[in-house]
């Protein structure tokens, strides 16, 4: 385990940023944090987490795929892809690290999404253990250990220091690259903090939430549950939950005619939208109830069914704090699963 | 200064466009100094327009104009002949460059009894 005094954290950032782009949570003018590029003077946010999840860095909200140019009546297809540069993403919480696994299973299974894959290959993920989880956190429900985050490198922050441990080859390389700045350390301080955090985790209001009622094979059982009717009634059908969600991976591919050619790009889509997956015959899901059900069934039933039981919710709590009407997956789970 | 340049300069200085004149003669009809003048307001306009300015420079008419602006007021086309007369007058004054009275002389002449306006107009008229 390597240790660095927090006083020197900016030296570390500077060293990392020298040969790789470094992204880390930075406070914005409205007080919320966002993964931003580090540059001299950038201050690492103390926030528990960012509003937008780190999936933006692998799967941006909009991404140009290719371009078409017309010359007279001929069409030329231009591949505008650029090989991703190496980058480090720093301070990723356990839940968000887990979200990469959820995304990987979608984008890296055949056919591989080369745009996503390229970014994943070039990224080093430095995770950060939680010490002050929020009341909206429920990662434990999905078996995620906020205290021992995964990632290429795991990090723990105490009041004075930050500790690193490599989990992968990439992680080893990363630690080697900052070796000069860090010192070897035992894990006493880290373990102390882990114990404290574990206590808090148990006290979280959503600590008792379980996935017992969900998982593959539950489709028919849950399909006609009255909760969909009841809870979808006041759903506004906005896309907030899906856009702040670290695991939502739906996108739409569109063409934009620039006047000098056509850019084919993709952008996030939301299953909450009435235009979502609209086809020639019309929409699959005609009512907000169906769309509402889709979102939660996908997270809790369909995805685990197709992915070996892995839920596609990581309990980060973003949708809990951002839904305009405070409707969320925790309420749905609670209602269906009943209180333990 | 050649003929054309003088015309341009007078037009520029006066801000008058003599082409606007429709030759109605109302300026001359209204002019109180008409009988004193060799060249009448409408002729001023026409002569400046045609560049026939030399006779005007040498004519007494320049100093007969009272600058009462009746012609300016009455002209239906907004030609403003009095401004043109003034501009021609200035050409004469500036050309000679041997003014009897220079601007620097004025302060000495000022006294409480004399309106400053009087001196200024005198300066204009009698520096010929």
């Amino acid at each position: 385990m390597r240790k660095l005094s927090l006083e020197n954290i900016n030296k570390l950032f500077a060293a990392v940023a020298e040969d790789k782009t470094l992204y880390l949570p930075v406070d914005q003018s409205d007080g919320s944090a966002k993964y931003s590029k580090w540059a001299e003077g950038t201050v690492w946010s103390n926030a528990l987490n960012t509003v937008r999840s780190p999936k933006d860095l692998f799967f941006p909200q909009t991404e140009d795929l290719m371009e078409f140019k017309t010359e007279g009546k001929n069409i030329e297809v231009i591949d505008i892809r650029k090989e991703s540069e190496d980058f480090v993403i720093f301070g990723v919480r356990a839940c968000d690290v887990k979200s990469f696994e959820v995304l990987d299973r979608v984008f890296l299974s055949e056919p591989v999404d080369s745009y996503y894959a390229s970014r994943r290959e070039h990224a080093v993920i430095v995770s950060l253990a939680c010490s002050r989880p929020s009341e909206t956190c429920f990662c434990t429900t999905f078996g995620i250990d906020a205290i021992n985050p995964e990632g290429d490198v795991s990090a723990w922050k105490t009041a004075t220091d930050i500790y690193f441990k490599a989990n992968t080859e990439k992680g080893e390389e990363f630690l080697a690259s900052i070796e000069a700045l860090t010192e070897e350390s035992d894990d006493t301080a880290v373990n102390e903090q882990k114990a404290k955090t574990a206590d808090i985790m148990k006290k979280l209001p959503l600590a008792d939430l379980t996935t017992d009622s969900f998982g593959g094979g539950k489709t028919e059982e849950l399909w006609n549950n009255p909760v969909w009717d009841e809870f979808s009634q006041t759903c506004l059908g906005c896309g907030t939950c899906t856009f702040v969600c670290p695991t939502c991976q739906c996108y739409d591919i569109k063409d934009f005619d620039t006047g000098n050619g056509v850019i084919r790009y993709r952008c996030w889509d939301s299953c909450m939208y009435s235009e979502f997956t609209r086809m020639a015959h019309g929409n699959n899901r005609l009512t907000q109830k169906e769309r509402f059900r889709q979102r939660f069934m996908h997270k809790l039933v369909y995805y685990p069914e197709n992915n070996g039981g892995l839920f596609s919710c990581v309990g980060c709590g973003r949708c809990l704090s951002k839904c305009p009407i405070s409707m969320n997956i925790a309420k749905v789970m609670r209602k269906i699963g009943g209180d333990k | 200064m050649n003929k054309k340049n003088l015309r341009e300069e007078i037009i520029l200085r006066s801000g008058v466009n003599p082409k606007k004149c429709m030759k109605c003669g109302k300026c001359s009809a209204t002019c109180p100094a008409y009988d004193e003048m060799e060249y009448h307001p409408h002729q001023f306009v026409n002569m400046v327009d045609t560049g026939d300015i030399e006779p005007l420079l040498n004519s007494d008419s320049l100093y007969k104009c009272l600058t009462c602006f009746a012609c300016v007021d009455r002209c239906p086309r907004g030609v403003e002949p009095a401004k043109l007369v003034e501009a021609v007058r200035l050409s004469v004054i500036r050309k000679q460059g041997e003014n009897h009275l220079t601007a620097n002389d004025i302060p000495a002449l000022l006294d409480d009894e004399t309106p400053q306006q009087l001196l200024v107009s005198a300066f204009r008229k009698y520096t010929k």
Binding site: L286 | K26, C27, T30, D35, H40, P76, R77
Partner: protein, 664 residues
């Protein structure tokens, strides 16, 4: 996908001089949808149109782009061409590469580049054009003529003679207008009354004509073929149906000291009055501002002497609503006010008068029974000065006069001068002029006669000032020919005041949505080709409301307007403009924003049952557009936030395609 043909017109050298038409045709070939592109010297010629028709057939074209002059010029032509080729006429778009390209840009590369861009925009639009079919609306077979002067009278008579009912609305108590006030008419010197009053009588007796005198139009709604007009009949306190026009009331009325408008205020009339002997309708009118009975409830003499019992002090303004298929504006003119021309002392001396006042002074029915007497002392004037262009051609004094030439003054001044010399040979007559303009049949001959035979002194130059002194008017003027300043002691000065449109024209134009120029003359649909029509369909122009005119011109225009009206009223149905709004009911949420901005009331709402996406049925309030009423302005399309309301022919996606093409 459309199959578009592009046709680039040279317009002789008008376009080809500044635009490389071949390059334009070539460049547009590569545009999406274009399958054929060519150029030709005159597309609008028969040969050019045939070329288009042949190309449509040969290349199976579905849309046409004509790169030519303004669509305001030949859009209709090419739509007809398209129709002749079997296409929907609305599959044509014009790229205006003449007025807005070749004529305003001087360099060939610049003009060519822009022409190509304009062509691309037109192609982009045609790609999204859809065939449109005009709706039909019925025609109310009745015409309204606003103004009862010679223009209105002639128009009304011509329309009525063709068999269509006509209503004349006149603000004054009688029709007749300015012509009724004139003495003689140039250049033939006919007596105005002798030629006008029979026509007035014709109007009164025509079974197809109704006269609303002492009335005004207060509201106009609707559109060509279907105008709904509200006419206010002002209370004249005399029952028109009973009054015989005997004049007993006029004689007995004690309130005799009211300026007589008909005689330009140069004598007086009573509070109850008939404007003049040949008035039509010959009905008395009570001047409410002058009548003591109406003001104070005392008197009532007229009622007592009226054998017909026509006096009705309780009469109220009456509002009449009537439908018309066509409206003719004939609101005429007035001399401008002389108040601001201090130099001519109009307000200082009674002996400085306007030409229209002079007409009354020389008219046998006028205040002096036709004897030319000075208004101040009733003496014969022996030296008369006429001043022309008073307030006309006055560019520098917008607050005083008018920039335009009033057109009629030269001739009537010549007439006045000639008649004066004819009747009173001992009178010296001077006419001060800037130019004498006599372009008309026998006009110059007339003017020359005044000079050569009657000895009128025409002096080139303007009057500078007039000063009343004792019983003469000191006139100071230029004589530009002899280069002298003249001083004349005149007994009478006559000012040829500029004329301006009647003040009622401006509010009327707003009601009619007819456009006006900066001088408040009505604008014609085309200055040369459609001079008697307003750009607003169904509104026609007659007489001086459109521009200064003399009587023969007025009468010819009046007849022309009438023939246009007849042409319209002959139709049983009008085909409308198909470029109108329409609501997509699936997207309309019934919010009423569009209804609120529609100037024609063309949008209505109804509850309709819809099958919703979730397969339920719902009753929703949705908008619908009355195609006969909608004029296609598009105000509603912007008021509608969802874009449910769109405009055919100028659809959102079409305009955006044009924007895109231009900004490429």
């Amino acid at each position: 996908m459309q199959r578009i043909g592009v046709f680039v017109c040279w317009c002789g050298s008008n376009i080809a001089g500044t635009v490389d038409v071949k390059a334009v045709a070539e460049a547009l070939k590569a545009e999406p949808g274009v399958v054929y592109s060519t150029d030709y010297q005159y597309m609008c010629s028969q040969a050019g149109q045939n070329l288009i028709i042949d190309a449509v057939k040969e290349h199976n074209l579905t849309g046409l782009v004509i790169c030519s002059c303004s669509p305001r010029m030949h859009e209709a032509t090419f739509r007809k061409t398209a129709a002749a080729a079997g296409l929907n006429p609305y599959m044509v778009e014009i790229a205006n590469i003449r007025e807005q390209c070749s004529w305003v840009h001087k360099e060939m590369p610049v003009g060519t580049e822009k022409a190509i861009i304009l062509g691309k925009a037109a192609v982009a639009k045609v790609n999204l054009n859809t065939p449109l079919t005009p709706g039909e609306s019925p025609v109310t077979k009745r015409a309204l003529v606003i103004g009862g002067g010679i223009a209105g009278i002639q128009t009304a008579l011509d329309i009525a003679d063709a068999g269509f009912p006509v209503d004349i609305v006149e603000t004054k108590p009688t029709i007749g207008g300015k012509m009724a006030q004139l003495d003689k008419t140039f250049p033939t010197l006919d007596c105005a009354a002798c030629i006008l009053t029979p026509k007035m009588v014709d109007v009164a007796q025509h079974e197809k004509i109704r006269i609303f005198s002492y009335s005004e139009v207060t509201d106009v709604k609707g559109f060509v073929g279907n105008f709904d007009v509200t006419i206010k009949k002002k209370a004249r306190f005399v029952d028109e149906t009973k009054c015989t026009g005997c004049g007993d009331c006029v004689d007995k009325c004690p309130m005799k000291k009211n300026p007589n408008e008909f005689n330009m205020g140069m004598d007086n009339r009573s509070a109850i009055y008939i404007p003049f002997a040949q008035a039509v309708p010959k009905v008395a009118t009570i001047d409410a501002g002058a009548c003591t009975m109406l003001k104070k409830g005392k008197c009532g003499l007229c009622s007592k002497v009226c054998g017909a019992g026509a006096i009705d002090y309780t009469q109220k303004d009456e509002f009449i609503e009537e439908k018309y298929g066509a409206i003719v504006v004939a609101t005429g003119f007035n001399p401008i006010s002389m108040d601001k021309f201090d130099e001519y002392a109009y307000n200082q001396s009674k002996d400085v008068i306007t030409s229209l006042e002079f007409e009354r002074l020389t008219n046998a029915a006028g205040p002096t029974q036709g004897k030319l007497l000075r208004p101040s002392d009733g003496k014969h004037p022996h030296k008369i000065v006429f001043v022309q262009c008073v307030g006309s051609r006055c560019a520098a004094c917008a607050e005083k006069g008018k920039e335009y030439c009033s057109k009629i003054c030269c001739m009537y001044t010549a007439k006045h001068a000639m008649l004066t010399r004819d009747k009173y040979p001992d009178t010296e007559v001077y006419v001060f002029y800037i130019d004498v303009r006599t372009p008309g049949k026998n006009f110059d001959e007339f003017y020359r006669r005044a000079v050569e035979e009657y000895g009128v002194n025409y002096i080139k130059g303007m009057v500078g000032k007039i000063v009343p002194e004792g019983d003469v008017l000191k006139v100071q003027a230029s004589d530009l020919i002899s280069n002298k300043q003249l001083h004349i002691d005149a007994d009478l000065v006559v000012l040829a005041a500029a004329i301006e449109p009647d003040k009622s024209a401006r509010p009327l134009a707003t009601m009619l949505t007819a456009s006006m120029d900066t001088n408040d003359f009505f604008t014609e649909a085309h200055p040369k080709l459609r001079p008697v029509e307003s750009p607003t369909a169904g509104v026609f122009l007659s007489g001086a409301c459109q521009g200064p005119k003399d009587i023969p011109e007025t009468v010819s225009q009046a007849g022309a307007a009438a023939s246009k009206v007849i042409g319209l009223l002959c139709k049983d149905k009008l085909t409308g403009n198909p470029c109108i709004a329409s609501a997509n009911e699936m997207m309309c949420n019934g919010c009423s924003s569009c209804e609120r901005v529609c100037p024609y009331g063309a949008i209505t709402y109804s509850d309709k049952e819809f099958r919703m996406p979730d397969r339920t049925t719902q009753i929703r309030r949705v908008a619908s557009v009355n195609p006969a009423v909608c004029q296609g302005c598009g105000a509603c399309t912007v008021a509608c936030p969802s874009g449910a309301m769109d405009l055919r022919g100028f659809a959102n996606n079409q305009i955006m395609a044009e924007v895109d093409a231009i900004c490429k």
